[in-house]
Symmetry: C2
Subunit: 437 residues, 2 copies
């Protein structure tokens, strides 16, 4: 079937339809570049796990293996370890969720929960409404299940409920099959925006009125720096107000460690049963080893204080980023001021193209993610995502200084030769969305 | 959308077509029962991880976290840790596979590799040829992607290549789209049969002649007790003789520990690229923590000797099972004599029904998996899978004694009232396959 010496893929005609949509994301190519130490990476969303007490964790895990190793190393329940599910219930209390361990499905990172929910709900062509922009990993899942993804504009309070209702009506008028609404209400990736309490109610109401599942993705909910309208508490989850209509996704990737790959879904009873069966087909069961590591950590270590350490670290870095942007960015550049989480979303001066500019930025030893990665349709060239979670503050400041230099040069070029978009039109149309002004 | 107090699933009409095939397997219900200590479980396929040196593993992991914790707890590559991929190459050397780390994709157990290969290759309706019987977890994956699964008879050398070729022709004649052949050549789950060298070549030839991908699942390859035609070495993998036509699946679940959930796929170049993209959509990346735990274990612990300890343990248990079956089973009962792995496949005397008999077996404090779980079409009632991997030898002997008592009673009932199948016809037709006589 393969021709010797021929590097063409002999299986090219055998792949499933869905595999044709599987293409490498821009984040992917960037990871290789951004890992070079001389590059200031404002690209990746890697949590600052070095802030953990590694000695204490080492002791915890060694003790776990010595005393419960036979269980930690064995297959477990497809739904996840019941002790950990009980603890997850406690972890969610601050966002207002009251969930029984039975309502929770533990997954290999919340990415897998996204995959399972989509697998259970979406036939090819079914419509998922997402923010403009949206999380690149969710878009990859929706694409891999051949969903029709419709971006809905955001404003300074996040997903716009009026636009959402209109998008649903339009989709139905076109004969499409709306299935669910995917939203990241708190400290949005990549937009850095948080929905206030009223906004959350409005969005929930649109979902309920339209009988659409609301998929609430909340990896950053406990990582708030500032009051965003919820008093001293973290933002209240939408799920806290509708146990039947919302599937809530949580994760330990940002509050403990991403390398453990432990996330979860909270789902209505019938949906939860389907998710467990889908999870068993996908991976049999989540890792007992990773789950019991987290369970022991939660039981023996000061995890609430650890989250405060993380949050204070990220707040300082956010301040470094915003201060440097204010100081260095040329007129016409705007950005969001996140009240928590990892990201700010930057809008370039009119005519500039973040995708086209990226090679020059990397030459100048700074990396970011171009806005196009967060849309399914090629829009987003005027935007970029800046992550402040991983580099030290002085590196962030240096990175912004370099980035501002690149933007300044682009502006010069544009004034001399026309828009950079005109110079780099190879990758399709650039239709910047007006939703984040 | 939900009626208060109504326990019906409000989302019942919203699920994807594929979710309708997601139903609980018989193994699932059994796990709960089989975990009661008074029941001898010959049902589950849990490796005997207590044979590991837990103190040594605890020291290894503690050292890993202290010295490389920041990496072990961080996101990693979607394809998997490159050091581990290099080590996996060495682990596969005994089965004759020469693979570059680039050819390997690390997955969350080899179950996830099964899921990814199916996701990449199979549109709804595409045909997957599997052994009769086949691994229940693979059948669950194929079902979840709405594949058409066609069972092909086995004989004492495993998958029958003549029957395979005929099944492919018949499927094509019906206008179906054959996509791949799924086989477990070594120490088959559940059949306990191993393909000899000639048989492997014949099967590969059928795959090549028909331009079909061969999916070779080999979790037990290093767990052989007896020479099965390959000299002193473990059975040579089919992949060793065709790097372009075979996707090979391996796992550390049976050679180190299942609770780590680390498996892998070896795939041709183009397929491997698709698998990595599919993996990123599914889970972003496998756990660095689990991968580096295995990597450290392989680098610092005597893993080859540990596999010998496992193998000797399983050989003793296999002998206990076969001896007890010989001693206690009534005339007309037959079983396979596995040369490695975890399972024997038992055929009941004519007229008996393993599915119908299960509640009485559990009442008699012994559990097994009825044959129907290993077929997609309701056949298999005359069979059961017996696992000898987990219970101690004296418990295995006691379990077989109990099971023989139940079968004896069933035979009495059958002689008095007709076949037990007649008594328990609720679950659909029973059409025992003639392929394992």
């Amino acid at each position: 079937m393969s021709v010797p010496g021929n590097r063409l893929d002999p299986w090219i005609n055998a792949y499933a339809q869905r595999a044709r949509g599987m293409t490498a994301s821009e984040i992917r190519a960037l990871f290789a570049v951004a890992s070079r130490p001389e590059v200031v990476s404002l690209a990746g969303g890697m949590p600052y796990v070095s802030a953990l007490n590694l000695d204490a964790l080492a002791d915890t895990v060694a003790d776990l293996l010595r005393t419960e190793g036979a269980q930690a190393l064995q297959y477990g329940s497809g739904q996840g370890d019941v002790t950990l599910r009980d603890q997850i219930g406690q972890v969610m209390a601050p966002v207002g969720i009251q969930a029984h361990p039975d309502d929770i499905v533990v997954t290999t990172g919340s990415q897998m929960a996204l995959d399972l929910v989509t697998r259970v709900f979406c036939d090819p062509g079914d419509v998922v409404f997402v923010e403009a922009p949206s999380y690149v990993g969710a878009l990859g899942v929706f694409r891999s299940y051949e969903c029709t993804v419709i971006h809905v504009p955001m404003d300074e309070q996040g997903l716009n409920p009026v636009a959402l209702a209109e998008a649903i009506s339009s989709a139905r008028a076109l004969g499409l099959q709306p299935k669910m609404i995917y939203t990241i209400p708190s400290f949005h990736n990549p937009a850095g925006i948080t929905q206030g309490p009223d906004r959350r109610h409005e969005i929930l109401e649109v979902a309920q009125r339209n009988n659409l599942l609301l998929l609430e993705d909340d990896p950053y909910g406990l990582l708030g720096f500032d009051d965003v309208g919820f008093g001293d508490a973290p933002p209240r989850a939408i799920r806290a107000d509708d146990a039947d209509g919302v599937v809530y996704l949580g994760s330990f990737s940002k509050t403990i460690a991403s390398g453990l790959r432990v996330g979860w879904a909270v789902a209505p009873h019938g949906v939860r049963e389907k998710l467990v069966l889908a999870a068993e087909a996908a991976v049999l069961c989540p890792s007992n080893y990773a789950q019991m590591t987290i369970s022991s950590y939660l039981a023996t270590q000061p995890w609430r204080e650890q989250i405060k350490v993380f949050t204070e670290t990220y707040r300082q870095r956010r301040d470094a980023l915003l201060g440097a942007l204010q100081q260095h960015m040329p007129t016409g550049t705007t950005w969001t001021a996140p009240a928590g989480g990892f990201y700010s979303w930057l809008t370039l001066p009119a005519g500039l193209d973040a995708t086209a500019m990226l090679p020059r930025a990397i030459t100048a030893l700074v990396a970011y993610v171009p806005g196009t990665g967060f849309f399914v349709d090629g829009q987003g060239r005027q935007y970029m995502r800046l992550s402040y979670c991983y580099p030290e503050p002085d590196r962030i400041i240096e990175g912004v200084r370099r980035l501002a230099g690149v933007i300044d040069e682009e502006l010069q070029l544009t004034r001399t030769f026309g828009t950079s978009h005109t110079l780099h039109q190879a990758n399709g149309p650039s239709t910047p969305t007006p939703d984040l002004q």
